[in-house]
């Protein structure tokens, strides 16, 4: 189809889809009128049963923990896939490399401070995820971003020690595989897969929630290194020398 034909075909179809949406919306309960029961029940039972104060994380890592296992593997498969797909783009990346040194110590210091601050925020988000808002995914992305700041404010050389998939791949696998291992542990001990086995501890403290905490950390490790690898693959393509002017 030419672009014009496509627009001509698409426009009425979109109008029709919009009409279907409108029909569906007319049957929805009014905004703010959530009827439950699923959410209400979980809000009631998760805190007393699992001693976690953040019910969203309790849902993510315990009640619907298997969804999150799938989610970690989606990220994992994406990283493996991106590595696979960009292998031609990043070929020969270790052969030639621009080495540009940082110009001023102030920028360097600022960068280090930013990195440290970002990293701390990331860790904090991970650590308190099952008590206050936050959790493995958010913390992981922030921490990975902070580590990458070294690349952005610094030079490639400074960044280079961090870019070593020989070290990152196993670490990511530890996080992602660790999630499955926690699930299997429960299965081997005779309970259902991903059953919360460890003691639940005191509500509202870091030592609460049992395996929610463990899974949260597994997810945090998995996400940090997955995101780091994902970004690194893309930054490597940028890094690779291209045209005569670059080499």
């Amino acid at each position: 189809m030419t672009r014009r034909t496509r627009v001509v075909v698409l426009a009425p179809a979109l109008v029709g889809l919009g009409a279907l949406f409108a029909w569906a919306i007319a049957g929805l309960p009014a905004f703010g009128d959530y009827r439950g029961p699923y959410g209400y029940v979980l809000n009631r039972i998760v805190v007393p049963l699992r001693h976690t104060t953040n019910v969203v994380m309790g849902t993510n890592f315990d009640v619907r923990g298997v969804d999150t296992m799938g989610e970690e593997f989606i990220l994992y498969a994406a990283v493996v896939g991106v590595t696979l797909l960009l292998r031609e783009e990043t070929k020969g990346r270790r052969v030639e490399r621009r080495t540009q040194r940082l110009r001023s110590d102030t920028v360097r210091l600022g960068g280090v401070l930013m990195v440290a601050a970002g990293f701390l925020v990331g860790i904090w988000l991970m650590a308190f995820g099952y008590i206050t808002p936050g959790g493995g995914f958010q913390g992981g992305v922030v921490a990975a971003g902070a580590i990458l700041c070294i690349f952005l404010v610094g030079s490639h050389r400074d960044y280079r020690p961090f870019r070593n998939e020989h070290a990152f791949d196993p670490l990511e696998a530890v996080g992602t595989g660790g999630y499955v291992v926690v699930g299997l542990t429960a299965l081997v001990s005779g309970s259902a897969f991903l059953t919360n086995l460890f003691g639940y501890g005191t509500t509202g403290t870091l030592r609460s929630s049992g395996s929610i905490a463990v899974l949260n950390w597994a997810a945090a490790i998995a996400v940090t290194f997955a995101v780091l690898l994902l970004f690194a693959e893309f930054l490597e393509t940028y890094d690779r020398p291209l045209a005569p002017e670059d080499t």
Binding site: R3, R6, V7, L10, L14, L17, G18, F21, A22, I25, A26, L28, A30, F31, G32, D33, Y34, G36, Y38, G39, Y40, L42, N43, R44, V46, V47, P48, T53, N54, V55, V56, G58, T59, N60, R64, D67, T68, E71, I74, L75, A77, A78, V79, G81, V82, L85, L86, E88, E89, I131, T132, P133, G135, F137, G204, V223, V227, L230, F234, T237
Partner: protein, 114 residues
Amino acid sequence: MSYLPYAVAAWICLVGIAGIATSKNLIHLAVCLSVTQSASYVLLLAVGYVKHGKAPIFVGLKLGSKAVDPVVQALTLTDVVVSLAVIGLILALALDAHRLAGTVDPDRLHEAQG
């Protein structure tokens, strides 16, 4: 007025799809895809909202007080991760296409057809 959030979600979805179908650049298209997906976040969260409810985090909030649905929030979190994974893959493919065909315009890739 009480249907406004749902209507906004539907609107985002349609706008995103229109962007995908007419895009001339795969990078632009990947972003449009993430816009389309954001419709499902908005719809999920709107559907689970409770009037005068608080966030389902029971720190300084008495157990049993009115709180919004935690399930839709858990689903949204998973959805967000999916979108990052998919956008990463499509951008990687876009770079490959650009290396091989010299263009990121999906209409000008002419290898597979018929």
